[in-house]
């Protein structure tokens, strides 16, 4: 079996595994990542979102084989030199969490949006977060947090 080579948060790792194993499980088991969560395994809820070549994509059905040669960034990879990403700061400022299980999907979706569209409208923010399920009903704070981050002068 050919080893699988992945680039996660700028770290290269190669290991042997079932090539059909979805990226989600690899991230949690091989890379010790916590942010990406199993929510449905059906690409319906967004709890497992990662930045895949800069796009927010669910990782629960994506085979690790097909994720090779792509840049994979998780929540853990947003922090640079001990400094939080402006979107992380904004989520803290807005206290945008209740249970927090969906926060990964919300932040990853927000980063993908803000990189493409630094000044999104309310409607554009809502569309960007649409794929992520939040059962606690924290949406208004997520939307607020994205607006706070959009005002940040720091690069995304």
């Amino acid at each position: 079996m050919e080893p699988i080579k992945l680039n996660v948060n700028s770290e290269n790792k190669s290991f042997s595994t079932d090539p059909s194993e979805p990226l989600l499980y690899i991230l949690r088991e091989e890379f010790g990542i916590n942010s990406t969560k199993f929510g449905c395994g059906l690409q319906q809820c967004g709890a497992c979102m990662v930045l895949l070549d800069g796009e927010a994509e669910p990782s629960c059905l994506l085979s690790c084989q097909s994720a090779q040669s792509k840049s994979i960034v998780t929540l853990e990879g947003l922090e640079k030199d001990g400094k939080l990403h402006p979107i992380q700061e904004a989520f803290i400022e807005a206290q945008a969490a209740q249970c927090g299980y969906c926060i990964n999907g919300m932040i990853i979706s927000a980063v993908a949006l803000l990189r493409k569209n630094p000044n999104p409208s309310d409607k554009e923010i809502r569309e960007a977060l649409q794929r992520v399920i939040c059962r606690c009903g924290t949406h208004s704070r997520f939307i607020q947090a994205v607006k706070i981050a959009a005002e940040s002068t720091q690069p995304f």
Binding site: T17, D18, E21, P22, Y25, R28, E29, G32, I33, N34, S35, T36, K37, F38, G39, C40, G41, L42, Q44, C45, A47, T74, L75, E76, E79, L84, Q88, F91, I92, Q95, A96, A97, Q98, C99, G100, Y101, C102, I103, N104, I107, I125, R126, E127, A128, L129, Q130, R131, V132, I133, C134, R135, C136, G137, T138, H139, S140, R141, F142, I143
Partner: protein, 739 residues
């Protein structure tokens, strides 16, 4: 003092209010990754609740650890309780830490439910902190031979009038002192508060945004293996044929467990367990009993087949009063089954080591879990330690206890290795206990002045509480075992008629409860019966207001005596410009109110909808709420909880119902059970009426019922159609009535 605790203190040779002796997880295997917890105090059993030490521990490193039997469920209870403790102790908030429910450490505070944590645990911690402070001041006064009245505390440092000072920690000199809760220490008056009432940020959010380990899902213990359970296709199904030899041959599979119709697989890697689960699902065959009630006739069935009614309240003159009314109205309302549908499927970790069981669980109550596991497994509670961990959002009795029991069963047949079990999405959707469907029949009479003179309720519902609470048979897995434990449902709880009695000043009332054994598994979901009851009651209030030809807010105010109830209604009227807003075109506005449980928070809400006749749709644009929870400990926490409750209730009300047919539950994922997402969620605005001079009151469930009725009332106001059958969808509106 508990024997094991005394023995521990003796054998450890410490007379200290806490030194790092045993890290939290060392007694159960080392950890690769754990949610970070302050480990400045040793793990040791709590004493009885009368000891300060059961609630608060000061350690030699100058920190404070608070112990609570309540769980963090995403409601921010850690921050709130820490604020209350730091306030009374007069110590900086930053040096305080908290340990949530752990049978190895914290006092037994039952379940984290009913919006009781601040009223219950908060009160206990506040008292314990006041006692601890008083104890320390007394100690200082004895040491310095000075009157206590001359001493003060700031940031944990006791001072006398000539600025002589000593810190709590120096004063303790590492001694273990078992101060008792005397009841004589008087907590601060609200004028002295400097932390309580402040919007202190939640510490855990800093971890969440960075993806730090936080949830039970994130526990990684050395040697940990992964499990999945294959649940039957429907209730009561029995495994007919099976040959799982293929499954055992799959790469990474360590064991297939079959005990009756309880089936589980253990594998080295999580995905290996998932693959094995998929194969088992494909090859297993079941004998599945049919569900006898069809969804279409559910409400008729409830009325026809419920037990003879229980009289909850009955004014002797009810019938004659109703006869005397100048106007009478009678209506029937329906609530379908709703699910918790937590974002993350339930997860637990269990380890069976040398005959002792440790379970890391997202349960709402570690002690009830310990008792129920003892019943399920037939071992003594002293052999079971339950450590509460945050799970995905918890709004009542969801899959958390079931997954913990299943993890324990699996660990028993695979001892000496920690087992992590997570449910699949369909397990959660199909097997969690739902909020019961309800039929609420209301009948009332008003006099010529618009005063309600008689109010009668006929309520039909299945139980709203089947928590295990010591009974192993309440776990679904227990019913699937070869030697199945019997599920004794027990009595129907008062949860069915929660908030069914109106708070309005009605001289003559009658409430009859018709208990019903429904087709689906039910238990406590946020608010219990209050959601359906308030939806009906507050919809009905608008129908009565219409009959009385009065403005809905005026009508409510006229029938209320409670000043705080009136205040939230008046505030929401003012915040929403209620009177002038009514003139807007293509809009609908609706109001609703309740005092949760008739004993907790007051909440009034206005819903605003936009009506589009062309597309035959309406949209919920905004919810504006006003809440009075007595003394507000943390305004941002209170707002966050309330906003969440409003959006969740809007989702239940607009979209949700559990679908089923004779073969089982059909709502198995987010497509078959849609909930509100970002594009459709309303704007939510929450205003707080703070009453610092009063006791804090539970708030977590206050919004559920009123929001449902406010939406129904707004839809009526905007479209002329009264929808009495949840969910309120555009198809139920008679669009010919819309101007």
């Amino acid at each position: 003092m508990d024997f094991s605790r005394r023995k521990f203190l003796k054998s450890s040779g410490q007379l200290v209010l806490g030194f790092q002796l045993i890290p939290l997880f060392s007694c159960t295997g080392s950890a690769k990754s754990q949610p970070e917890t302050y480990s400045g105090i040793p793990v040791r059993p709590h004493g009885d609740k009368e000891l300060i030490d059961s609630w608060i521990r000061l350690d030699a490193a100058g920190h404070v650890t608070i112990l609570t039997g309540k769980q963090e469920l995403g409601q921010g209870i850690r921050t709130t309780l820490l604020q209350m403790a730091a306030e009374e102790l007069d110590v900086p908030f930053e040096i305080c830490h908290i340990i949530n429910g752990d049978t190895g450490q914290t006092a037994n505070e039952g379940y984290t439910a009913g919006s009781n944590s601040v009223e219950g645990s908060g009160k206990a911690i506040r008292q314990a902190a006041a006692e601890a402070k008083r104890y320390m001041l007394t100690l200082a006064s004895q040491t310095w031979k000075e009157d206590v009245a001359n001493l003060s505390v700031e940031n944990g440092i006791i001072k006398n009038k000539s600025n002589k000072e000593i810190s709590y920690w120096k004063l303790l000199e590492g001694k273990h002192i078992e101060g008792k809760i005397t009841g004589n220490a008087i907590p601060k008056s609200h004028e002295e508060h400097r932390l309580v009432g402040k919007p202190i940020a939640r510490d855990d959010i800093k971890n969440l945004v960075r993806g730090k380990a936080h949830f039970v899902h994130d526990i990684r213990l050395d040697g940990m293996v992964h499990a999945r359970v294959l649940h039957p296709p429907s209730y009561g199904a029995k495994l007919r044929t099976y040959d799982f030899s293929e499954v055992s041959k799959l790469e990474g599979v360590l064991k297939v467990i079959r005990d009756g119709s309880f089936i589980a697989v253990i594998a080295t890697r999580e995905y290996q367990a998932v693959k094995a689960w998929m194969l088992m699902k494909a090859i297993s065959e079941w004998e599945t009993p049919k569900i006898k009630v069809s969804q279409d006739s559910l409400f008729e069935d409830m009325k026809a087949k419920s037990m003879s009614p229980e009289t909850i309240e009955n004014s002797p003159d009810f019938n004659s009063e109703l006869e005397n009314a100048s106007k009478r109205v009678k209506q029937e309302y329906h609530r379908p089954y709703h699910m918790h549908a937590s974002t993350g499927p339930s997860c637990a970790v269990a380890e069976w080591k040398s005959g002792n069981l440790t379970v890391w669980s997202p349960t709402q109550g570690v002690y009830p879990l310990q008792n129920s596991l003892s019943d399920l497994l037939g071992i003594g509670t002293e052999k079971i330690r339950c450590i509460g961990m945050p799970g995905s959002g918890c709004y009542g009795h969801n899959g958390a206890d079931d997954v913990s029991a299943e993890a324990a069963l699996i660990a028993r047949s695979f001892p000496e290795r920690p087992v992590r079990l997570q449910w699949m999405r369909e397990d959660e959707h199909q097997w969690e206990p739902y909020g019961s469907a309800m039929v609420i029949q209301l009948e009332a009479g008003i006099d010529e002045e618009g005063k309600i003179i008689a109010w009668g309720t006929n309520l039909f519902s299945d139980t709203h509480s089947t928590r295990p609470n010591g009974n192993g048979g309440h776990y679904i897995s227990a019913r699937h075992l070869e030697k199945a434990l019997e599920f004794r449902k027990g009595g129907f709880s008062g949860g069915s008629y929660r908030n069914a009695i109106p708070l309005y000043t009605i001289p003559s009332k009658r409430l009859l409860l018709h208990n019903y054994e429904g087709p689906l598994r039910t238990s406590a979901l946020r608010g219990l019966g209050a959601y359906g009851n308030i939806f009906a009651l507050e919809s009905f209030m608008d129908e009565l207001a219409l009959a009385a030809e009065m403005d809905p807010i005026e009508f409510r105010l006229k029938n209320l005596n409670d000043a705080r109830a009136k205040a939230v209604l008046q505030a929401v009227r003012q915040k929403t410009s209620w009177n002038s807003a009514q003139n807007a075109a293509n809009k609908g506005f609706g109001v609703a109110f309740s005092k949760y449980k008739n004993s907790a928070s007051y909440f009034a809400v206005v819903a605003e909808i936009t009506v589009d006749k062309t597309s035959k749709t309406f949209k919920l644009e905004k919810l504006t709420g006003v809440i009075d929870s007595g003394q507000c400990i943390n305004p941002d926490g209170l707002k966050n909880q309330t906003e969440g409750g409003m959006i969740q209730s809007a989702s239940w009300t607009l979209l949700e119902k559990v679908d089923f047919d004779e073969n089982g539950v059909l709502s198995t994922d987010w497509n078959s059970y849609p909930i509100l997402r970002s594009k459709e969620v309303p704007v939510v605005e929450v205003h707080i009426i703070n009453r610092p001079e009063l006791a804090p009151m539970g708030a977590g469930e206050a919004a559920q019922g009123p929001v449902a009725a406010a939406i129904a009332n707004a839809v009526f106001n905007g479209t002329g159609t009264r929808v009495r059958d949840l969910p309120i969808s555009a198809e139920k509106v008679d669009w010919n009535k819309v101007n």
